[in-house]
Symmetry: C2
Subunit: 343 residues, 2 copies
Amino acid sequence: MAQTALSALGEFGLIDRLTKAFTIENASTKLGIGDDCAIVSYADKSDIVITTDLLVEGIHFDLMYCPLKHLGYKAVMVNLSDIYAMNAKPKQITVSIAVSAKFSVEALDDLYSGIALACKNHSVDLIGGDTSSSITGMTISITAIGEVKKDKAVKRSGAKPNDLICISGDLGAAYMGLQILEREKHVFTQTGSQSPKLEGYDYVLEKQLKPEARKDIVERLAKYKVLPTAMIDVSDGLSSELLHICKCSNVGCKVYTDKIPVNEDTARVANEFSIDTLTAALSGGEDYELLFTVDIADFHKVSMIPDVRIIGNITQQSEGAQLITAQGEKIALIAQGWNGFTE
Amino acid sequence: MAQTALSALGEFGLIDRLTKAFTIENASTKLGIGDDCAIVSYADKSDIVITTDLLVEGIHFDLMYCPLKHLGYKAVMVNLSDIYAMNAKPKQITVSIAVSAKFSVEALDDLYSGIALACKNHSVDLIGGDTSSSITGMTISITAIGEVKKDKAVKRSGAKPNDLICISGDLGAAYMGLQILEREKHVFTQTGSQSPKLEGYDYVLEKQLKPEARKDIVERLAKYKVLPTAMIDVSDGLSSELLHICKCSNVGCKVYTDKIPVNEDTARVANEFSIDTLTAALSGGEDYELLFTVDIADFHKVSMIPDVRIIGNITQQSEGAQLITAQGEKIALIAQGWNGFTE
């Protein structure tokens, strides 16, 4: 397919082209793209939640194995996941990109088709952004805005002793998907082989390349009338997120290793790579599941919510953050999450 | 001074260090940094305006002559200027940065000291952000959120024939400041001379390195009870912004070249560089002045506002966008603004 240089359109022409397929779906969006600012207006009984994430080529994503449409979808999901983790509904996003001359207009069309699909699936309006050239590679910066009933936002700081610790979905799959992609990239760069072996790895690859923010879990919490006492999304790994809740809430926790949900495909791939399954689940990151705590009085209700599991309970801060193995052994929880500044 | 590697602190340690000096000043900020999202809550009679900008090293700024503290200040101003251009008051910002290993913790301290000063001067709260490493250089992404009385936001689209066209301050200075800095950089790279000649260029250098978003003009518009019919901030040059208002409002304009305000220092530097003063004022960009239109009935009131000048009037769209010279010659207005994608 013919590739068009970015310089052929100019900044305003490019913005027009990339955003023309987006429509405004939410009543709270009074003015979208095309002025100095967007204008939004929420119901009087609402609080507004705001989050922002920066994704840098070579640090957060590798275009060698991440198709641009998937990248656009995932970049939005990373932000929506933070909105859902506040018990809120995402309503608007802004998307800024810096791209070098190696990218064509058609490549950005692909990126924005993923962004558009993410917006459509989650009823979110694209209301602004910025478009720039860069010296090398691509940087994507997204800010998401969400709405929640006044004083119903769920922070990290509300967990209290005896609360139950719950997790949606399963963990470690995205990390194992990344291992597959890294392995096939290595094979390709070493041998020039054009046929990566991706068959049979659908589950872990999808979790890595096309994660889905858990809108459904927030909707189910409302349906089952469960208001979590604390909530966070799992982006850096379960250990790291548990420690955030413990620190922000001044509590400890006990998490039972045999309760931590791991998909059988994840376990199989971990075994193939001689990676401990529990390690993948605790430290893998990028799962975008929701980790939350509920009052013990909500035990029955939370037990009925599909795709949610109870994995432990909150304790006094003095007891620390502990993993309890199937053999009853206690292990102090430490964060092994991703650190972008490691040398 | 000792320089600390970013990797010594880790991401969370770095965020703690960079944000610890910031305090929350606005009642509308319910929760700041430290959770999945910030939480804001505005008065029931408010609309919310949102803008975002991306600044890329080597494209938008050159650290060879832009001190990091000034860069932090300017990066915030660029966004606040968009908020004021909606007739709104800025309340919150998020700041995301991607930096390569060439930057030390102390360098980022400088950047954030400029961001903090900008927040203090404009009563804005830092409520979130993201911090990442990058392969090369620095990228800064800022999103600003502002508040305006419901339905009092001023768009680009409300100008109508016979409205007066007004501009704050003066134009072309930031562009001439950039010429001075580029000249001294060239001298330095060619000769290794350590003493750039910056004396006597204070005005144009300050407009380039430390622009100030025109909070005062928005306050004066309120004080003099003038609600503009359209408004935009001058970031890409007067010509480009006039054409935006004409296009969005479906009108034409007549602007009188001898009415366009240019500081005498700007004119002197333009002369030194053999650059036409009018060209600098029309196409220079980065002035961050406010360009607005008012109903002709507001002529008396707007004439009394300090540091605001009337430079022309809105016409029927069929008349086009025209410059009128002192000799009465008509010249069609064309945008010569900055295009980030020019090859």
